[in-house]
Subunit: 278 residues, 2 copies
């Protein structure tokens, strides 16, 4: 029996916990979303983040800039938000229009308000195991593993993919949870031999249907971070159907990791409003 991990239910529970904590706070935590340009997908993502903010009882500070905004104009908005004591978290929606330098803009966000965990300083704090805000998607994966009682300490974990947004911080978090962690990527020779070592296999390669039964050790927990729009609907990096009777647990796409990302954004905003430093 392979369990399908219900990410929606876990995300709901996390968001309800955040809302309960927020209810006891005054003033309320505030999240500022910054949207540059008019990419329709980005607009949808930002709208659903803002809805989650309001549902959690937090205050919604949104800024919208035209696609023609200059680097200096976006930077000025970020600095104003950085200085605003009502704003505890700042999220710069990516991707930005091509004429802007995303890394330089992200680094304008103070680490204490970096609810996406994407600044150089946040990456350094994570690498050094110091307190700080962690990227939402990998944090959501850790939360999913914990919700299922999956033991990380001493387990073999394999992360496929090494992006700054997911794969890389995912490996860091698993390592800090005392797993023996392997990072595989496009140069990995014999990927299946590597992934079959995994008790916990996190697939964040961005390659549709990359992972099938031949890649999975019987009894493993498989987390699929991929998301691809296909003629048959949303699908992941994992060929889910093949894993029945092989994996112990697997996340579906949609309804697995996806809902956790927004839930962890709420957790990070609450943390940013209540923690000291970094």
């Amino acid at each position: 029996m392979t369990v399908t991990i219900d990410g929606k239910a876990v995300a709901q529970r996390v968001r309800a916990q955040v809302a309960a904590e927020v209810a006891a706070l005054d003033p309320k935590p505030g999240l500022a979303t910054v949207l540059v340009g008019d990419d329709p997908a980005s607009a949808v993502y930002v709208a659903s983040k803002r809805r989650a903010v309001r549902e959690a009882g937090m205050s919604d500070h949104h800024r919208s800039l035209p696609a023609t905004a200059t680097q200096a104009e976006v930077a000025a908005v970020l600095e104003e938000l950085a200085a605003d004591p009502a704003v505890h978290g700042i999220l710069l929606q990516l991707p930005l229009p091509a004429h802007l330098d995303p890394d330089a803009l992200i680094d304008r966000i103070p680490a204490a308000k970096d609810v996406d965990g994407l600044t150089t300083r946040s990456a350094g704090l994570l690498a050094r195991g110091e307190p700080g805000l962690r990227p939402c998607t990998p944090s959501g994966v850790i939360e999913l593993l914990e919700s299922q009682g999956v033991k990380t300490r001493g387990s073999r974990a394999v992360v496929v993919g090494r992006s700054a947004l997911v794969g890389h911080p995912m490996a860091e978090l698993l390592l800090q949870h005392d797993a023996t962690v392997t990072v595989a990527h496009k140069h990995t020779a014999d990927l299946a031999a590597v992934t079959r070592e995994a008790d916990i296999l996190v697939v964040a390669a961005g390659v549709h249907g990359l992972i099938g039964a031949e890649h999975v050790k019987p009894g493993a927990t498989v987390i699929d971070v991929g998301i691809h729009r296909t003629a048959d609907g949303l699908q992941g990096d994992v060929r889910r159907a093949e894993l029945d009777g092989v994996a112990a647990r697997v996340t579906p796409v949609p309804g697995g990791v996806g809902p956790m990302t927004i839930a962890m954004l709420m957790v990070n905003t609450l943390r940013a409003a209540t923690m000291d430093g970094p």
Copy 2:
């Protein structure tokens, strides 16, 4: 036949290259070593770094503070050096006296002068694969591997140990050199099974004689970062004698990784003097 990698010879070559490049520069790159207190081992290390600076034709800016120096006093010295245009690299010798907070002091060093690669910002730049100064010991290991023509791309690399100083940045550098990287540590179950997967095995556990023949795949390259003072002289984390006829190559202790650390400090100081940013 197991080759013993001659770290002294490689380090000598690297230092000669640095000296040749320095000879063409005016003004000369400057390294400031900061020693707090009178730990005899630290004094010896600082003296040998200063000697290497002079041998490379660079300028030696040394600061010595009493063991009773306060956090603010050490910070003031670091800020003065940070502002001094003749000082291109700053090295705060560790460990510090127990009443001082090393992380907070290290973070006073601007990333552009962080020749030890230990600041939070340098760790973040490394994690994100952005240009920056990297810690000397893991950089020295990469240099040793390259000197022996060991291929990293697509190889399986295992790092034993996850310290901020060596194990962690070592794994990062191997990953950036496109190896499939596994980090093992004290919670790893069946260490020998994990290390036997390695084409490149870097041992930075700080445990005398931890690794023997049973841990090594035939034909592997084994890099021993350990250093332990024993009745039989300096020894490493690897039981070197057992690896004859098993490993393809192994670094000795002493004379392997050790000499590379100072050589890479010279490389970093030269880079700090000549690069833009970070």
